[in-house]
Subunit: 214 residues, 2 copies
């Protein structure tokens, strides 16, 4: 397997955490997003969407969209599970993962912030304020849900990490780059600390990747 | 079951199509997004994220995030299936669904367009151009994938409609409101016509809902 990735990509981070939890170690192939390598003919031949991550299987099949890849991994390599077995638990874990994957990340990723700058004259400060706004819109209700639900444990759902944790971990790391004030989110912070203490998560962090830059 | 919905919400449309495909008819409870009803205390008690749709089960459990709800429905009411049985097919269908659910819709929903207007002075024309830009970024590669993949049939994956079709159908309907030129997407148009010919999709359209407004 080959993992097509960029060290700083939050969607790549969440997939790296999932691969680590599963004990899978694909070959790491970096694509430099800031240099536009994801729009090269070579990369578009792998993934026409021009987005990382992508997971290339040994038969050459290329899987795209981090959540679809994580669900695939959970079906093909079921242990340890990223999703609980009961449909209600699965719905809860997926809803937390999707709250981050649909409501926070897409509005805040590199290409949207760049478009905001080029088309609407946003400067760095305005782009960062945009980023923080959309984090708060989702993190406030997420903090409430994670604090109040009996299903929350050491991790997002019970005491073992899963799909939602991979997404939350990557987002919290990303928040730090844009100066998000995390003090309103004690439960999220507690879960994040439990994630960071696990090598599967720590090793997924951007600065631990071969293409890391300071 | 109670479906908490807004007629024009694209995420509600995709869930309505899935419910119709499953032959499920929950009670319809509208929340007027333009009037801000999704931010009322009464709605936030159901879904702290303040987003529609939400599906309230008979035991009072409230499921959120349209894709998580659709996956739940597919697990609890397996026939007809929204996802194929093979992991590779499931990964493909989920990737198409997520390309729309993560890359197009979140950047273009009502609250983002409103924020663009209030914070960056975008007028209606600029907001519509923003909308069309993000549609094209995803629809161009999606058209390529749907045209070239042997797995594409009358619908996104084979000849029976599923999860990806629900998302695509709702997005194409939404595109029409913002003047998206659909001529570059003949395969998507063909699939959309096949969807529209089915009552499950037609009955999910905004103008067929009890809270529809012109």
């Amino acid at each position: 397997m080959i993992l097509h990735s960029y060290f700083r990509s939050s969607t790549s981070t969440r997939l790296r955490a999932a691969l680590n939890l599963k004990g899978l170690s694909p070959r790491y192939q970096p694509w430099h997003l800031r240099a536009g390598e994801q729009r090269s003919q070579r990369y578009l031949a792998l993934n026409p969407q021009g987005l990382v991550p992508a997971l290339e299987l040994d038969d050459g099949t290329v899987l795209t969209q981090s959540l679809a890849i994580m669900e695939y991994l959970d079906e093909v390599h079921p242990e340890p599970q990223l999703l609980p077995r009961d449909p209600m638990g699965r719905a809860r874990v997926r809803a937390i993962a999707l709250a981050i994957a649909c409501e926070v990340h897409p509005v805040n990723n590199l290409r949207v912030l760049t478009h905001l700058k080029t088309e609407f004259g946003a400067d760095e400060a305005a782009a960062a304020a945009w980023f923080r706004h959309w984090v708060a819109e989702t993190f406030a209700p997420l903090e409430k849900v994670l604090t109040e639900d009996a299903e929350t444990g050491r991790f997002c759902h019970g005491d073992t990490p899963g799909l939602a944790d991979c997404c939350l971990y990557a987002q919290v790391l990303n928040n730090a780059r844009f100066g998000v004030d995390m003090t309103p989110y004690p439960t999220i912070n507690r879960i994040f600390e439990n994630q960071q203490a696990l090598e599967a998560f720590a090793a997924a962090a951007p600065m631990r990747q071969p293409d890391a830059e300071t």
